[in-house]
Amino acid sequence: MSKRLFVKGNEAAAMGAIEAGCRYYFGYPITPQSDIPEYLSRELPKLNGEFIQAESEVAAINMLLGASACGVRAMTSSSSPGISLKQEGISYMAGAELPGVIINISRSGPGLGGIDASQSDYFQSVKGGGHGGYRIAVLAPNSVQEMYDLTMHAFDLADQYRTPVMVLGDSVIGQMKEALVPNPRPNRELPAKGWAVRGKSGGEQRIVKSLFLGDGELEAHNWRLHAKYKQMMDVECLSEEFETADAKLLVTAYGSVARIAHTAVAMAREEGLKVGLFRPITLCPFPEKALKAAGERAGRILDIELNTGQMVEDVRLAVGSNVEVSFYGRPPGAGSLPSPEELLDQIRKHYA
């Protein structure tokens, strides 16, 4: 086993980016994700990379667009209000089929809100976010180790499907420290970047753009983007199950609150309640097949989120009307983080 490091989730994401070969970062500081630019501002120059603190979030996402168009691995990160500002650029990247990784260590809203742990950006992340009807892959780590591993995975998905990919966390996952085993980058075979603009050098002209004005051109482009999304649905869904085989009640939760729910489920098991946990790791593509199977086995689902109910809509769509789906949420704010005991109470209530 390689040495265990003790680092923050944010630092782990930055380390994962470097291991994945990312050498270009553009960002603007905002709590609770500033450890990411802090780490990269120190480490990227040592690797002949480039760290730029942009004048704004809008500038940073467009720098990412530019770097990505040149075919290099690049990243930006921010937190909810900053991610809102980046949405126009993300839409342009999706339209121009540009890979790139965006980390959102989200905070509570709406508006300026607060800095507390939150899952209020689920809709914005998985349903497109910007204008124009597109989807990007969204990964939801629940540990420091996954912040590292899934950031590396995000770069592979981005290059494989030529799409922006988001890693969605919050202050629990970003600020907490745990042991990290810095695994080497996975060895995934990826398509060559024959589209990248690196200077014509007598070759064919390449154009990276999201503007399609020809008759039928844009419609065909939209269907092509949709086909990529369908393909991701088929082969890229990730989820984790805990004690689901004989569960009579299935808890669904992702990210930080899934950690709390995991302990609550373990406590329920100690009381003899047959409860299991289903944790989507990819929020988009949403692991609907695996959830449908687990949900139908249990017959009843309790969805838990740090908001007033967002992923629960995808849970309902996945399992259909034969499975009863209830919801328990704690909208974000100081003092709103539920304890395992509080979630255990909800499990007891919905188990009966």
């Binding site: 265990r4 003790f6 709590t31 800095i115 629990v172 600020q175 907490m176 420290k177 745990e178 042991a179 930080s256 950690r259 709390i260 995991h262 302990t263 609550a264 373990a266 983080l337 539920p338 304890s339 395992p340 005991e341 509080e342």
Partner: protein
Amino acid sequence: MRHDVLIAGFGGQGVLLAGNVLSYAALDEGKNVSYFPAYGVEKRGGTANCTVVIADGAVGSPVVGSPSVLVALNQGSLDRLGAKIRPGGICILNSSLVDAATLGRSDVKVVSVPMNEIATDLGDPRMVNMVALGAYAELTGAVSLEALAEALKAALPERNHRFIPANAKAMETGAQCARVE
């Protein structure tokens, strides 16, 4: 084996460093650890706390509703968090700044350590956090004093390593004081 502790005080008392040192010590002893900080937007004077979970197996939730141990370095922390301690748990309080009578619970063990006085006697009042850690290790056995002292190397930047002997001494004194209590 599973230990969880909530360490709380005001910003500047070294609550987060204490949590870090404890975590490094447990990690060094081969345990799984989560360290979860929570603090206000103020750099100094606001409230600060951190939750550390130490386990042989999976840590599970880094968020703990009813910690088995509360280390309260100031009165506000005891007022706000005293009710959360698990029945049968331990409250380690800094009696230099905290009035033990205000806890008003008979179902937890209260250990009073005059941390500011001890730290000041040892040469620097800023070592209250290390006194607290020593008391915690003594009362719970979650980590050894040796591992705690060793962890200072990992938790502190090298330029501050010259302070390690004094800090290790503060840990020992905190442990002695808790033993007598």
